[in-house]
C-alpha cells in the first residue's frame, strides 16, 4: 500500500474519506429511488378517503409491513416517528407511565445514549444508573431492579460498539419491562430478544434523516406519555413523512439484504484498525474486541486534545467523530467512556461506511500515527 501522505505530512487536497457512518450513513441508492417515487405518488393525507389519500395510505402501510417483516414484529406494533430520539422518548416514557402502579424508578445502563438519560431525568421520578464493566457491557448480575418501572438497555453502544446482553437483562428483569435503544445497531445486527419497546433511527442504516421507528409489543404495558393526537394514533404525532418513511423501509430491506457481505468487510476493516491502533504508544482501544458492532471502533490517545485530532484528521481528508468533552456539545466528557474507566481525552470514533475501501482504511492508518505525533510534539 503506498503511503498516503508526502514526507512532510501534507494532505492530498482532493481526498475526502468519510469514517463517521455511526453518526449518519449516506443515503442508500434504494432509498433515493423510493423517496423520489413517493414524493410524486404519496403527497396526500393518508387519513383521507379520496383516491390520493388512499394512495398515500397504501405507501405508508407497505412501508410499515416491510419494516415489521425485517424486524420480525407485527405491523401494528410499528410506529414511525420524526427521529430516533423521539422514538426513544415515546418508547421509554410510555413504558414508565404504563408501569406506574408497579414501580417508580427508571433504571438504565450507565452507557445509554443521552436521549435516554435526558428523558429519564425529565420525568422527575427516581433514576438509577446500572454499572458497566471495562468493555462497556452492563453487569447483569449487579443489576438492581428494586422499585423499577422500566429498565433501559441499548442493543449495542453507540460510542464504543459493545453489544449488550439484552436477553439476559430481560430474563433478570422478569415482569419489569425492558426498553431497547437499538439506534446504533438496527439494520446492522438482528434485533435482540426480550424487550417490550424498542427505538431505531433510519439515517443510521442509510435511510433519510427525520424518520425514527418505535416498536411497542402488543402485550406491553405502554401508555402514551405525550398529548394524544387523534390523527396519528398509536404513539405518534402529526402528519407522517410518508416519502421519508418509504425510503427508510427501502433502505432497511436493502441493507439487510447486503448485510452478510457488508458485515464481513466492515468487521475485517475494524479488526485491522484495532490491530494497528492498538500497537501505537499510549493509545487505548476501547470496547469489546469481538462481541461488538461491525462498523465502529473507538480509541483514546494520551496527551492529545480530541478536538485538535479531529481537526487535524479532517485537514488530512479523514472525517471522524470524538467523544472528548471539547468536541461534544457539552463541557462534560463522554459519560460512556467515564463509566468504562476509559480515557476521555484524545478520543476518536472511527466508523466505516457502506463504501469504505480497504485502501482507504490503509491510508487512514498511514496518516494517523503521524497526526498523533505531530500534536504531541506541539505540547
Amino acid at each position: 500500500m503506498p503511503p498516503a501522505v508526502a514526507s512532510g505530512g501534507d494532505p492530498d487536497p482532493t481526498r475526502r474519506v468519510y469514517l463517521d457512518s455511526a453518526s449518519g450513513e449516506s443515503l442508500h441508492p434504494a432509498a433515493r429511488q423510493a423517496f423520489a417515487a413517493a414524493l410524486d405518488a404519496a403527497y396526500a393525507d393518508p387519513r383521507r378517503l379520496h383516491h390520493a389519500g388512499r394512495s398515500a395510505r397504501l405507501v405508508l402501510d407497505n412501508a410499515r409491513a416491510a419494516t415489521a417483516e425485517v424486524f420480525g414484529v407485527r405491523a401494528d406494533e410499528v410506529t414511525f416517528t420524526a427521529s430516533g430520539t423521539e422514538a426513544v422518548h415515546r418508547g421509554l416514557l410510555g413504558l414508565h407511565r404504563g408501569s406506574a402502579r408497579h414501580g417508580r424508578t427508571l433504571v438504565h445502563t450507565a452507557v445509554e445514549h443521552s436521549a435516554v438519560l435526558h428523558a429519564a431525568a425529565w420525568t422527575g421520578s427516581p433514576v438509577r444508573s446500572a454499572p458497566v464493566d471495562p468493555t462497556g457491557r452492563v453487569r447483569v448480575a449487579d443489576l438492581d431492579l428494586s422499585d423499577a418501572s422500566v429498565v433501559a438497555c441499548q442493543s449495542a453502544n453507540h460510542e464504543v460498539g459493545t453489544v449488550q446482553p439484552v436477553a439476559a437483562v430481560a430474563e433478570r428483569a422478569g415482569e419489569v419491562p425492558v426498553f431497547v435503544d437499538a439506534c446504533a445497531s438496527a439494520g446492522r445486527l438482528p434485533l435482540p430478544e426480550g424487550w417490550a419497546a424498542l427505538a431505531a433511527s433510519a439515517h443510521k442504516w442509510g435511510g433519510p434523516p427525520g424518520v425514527g421507528v418505535l416498536v411497542v409489543r402488543r402485550r406491553a404495558r405502554w401508555r402514551d406519555a405525550f398529548p394524544e393526537d387523534e390523527r396519528a394514533g398509536h404513539g405518534a404525532s402529526g402528519f407522517e413523512n410518508v416519502p421519508g418513511i418509504l425510503a427508510a423501509a427501502a433502505a432497511l430491506q436493502a441493507v439487510v439484504g447486503e448485510r452478510a457481505e457488508q458485515t464481513a468487510r466492515q468487521r475485517a476493516q475494524v479488526d485491522r484498525i484495532r490491530q494497528v491502533v492498538g500497537g501505537l504508544p499510549d493509545v487505548d482501544v476501547v470496547g469489546d474486541p469481538t462481541d461488538r458492532l461491525p462498523h465502529l471502533v473507538t480509541f483514546s490517545c494520551l496527551y492529545v486534545d480530541g478536538e485538535a485530532l479531529v481537526t487535524e484528521l479532517d485537514r488530512l481528508g479523514f472525517e471522524v467523530a470524538s467523544g472528548s468533552a471539547c468536541t461534544a456539545s457539552s463541557l462534560e466528557p463522554s459519560h460512556v467512556l467515564a463509566a468504562m474507566g476509559a480515557l476521555t481525552h484524545g478520543n476518536v470514533r472511527v466508523s466505516v461506511a457502506r463504501e469504505t475501501t480497504d485502501e482507504e482504511v490503509e491510508q487512514f492508518l498511514a496518516v494517523l500515527p503521524l497526526a498523533i505525533e505531530r500534536l504531541r510534539a506541539q505540547v
Binding site: L302, S324, A325, P333, G341, T344, H345, V379
Partner: protein
C-alpha cells in the same frame, strides 16, 4: 506530596502535567493533581492504568477543588 495546581486547565493539560512531574517524586511517593476540569476525574485513573502507576483516590483541596492522588510505583 508533590502538588500540581491545574486549576483552570482543561484536559489533556492536567494529564500532561502529571506525566511531566511523576518522575519528580521517588518510587512510593505521591503526586496530587488539583484540577477543576470534569474530565480529570476519569482521566487520572485511566492514565494510571495505561502507564502502570497507582491511583490512590480523590480528596478535596482547601478551596474544595478535587485533588486526584497518584502513587508512583515504577
Amino acid at each position: 506530596m508533590l502538588e500540581l495546581d491545574c486549576r483552570g486547565q482543561v484536559c489533556p493539560a492536567p494529564i500532561i502535567e502529571l506525566a511531566r512531574h511523576i518522575g519528580d517524586v521517588e518510587v512510593g511517593g505521591l503526586v496530587g493533581v488539583v484540577a477543576d476540569d470534569a474530565a480529570a476525574r476519569a482521566d487520572v485513573p485511566a492514565w494510571c492504568r495505561m502507564t502502570g502507576q497507582e491511583y490512590a483516590g480523590e480528596e478535596a483541596a482547601d478551596d474544595g477543588v478535587p485533588r486526584y492522588v497518584v502513587r508512583r510505583v515504577s
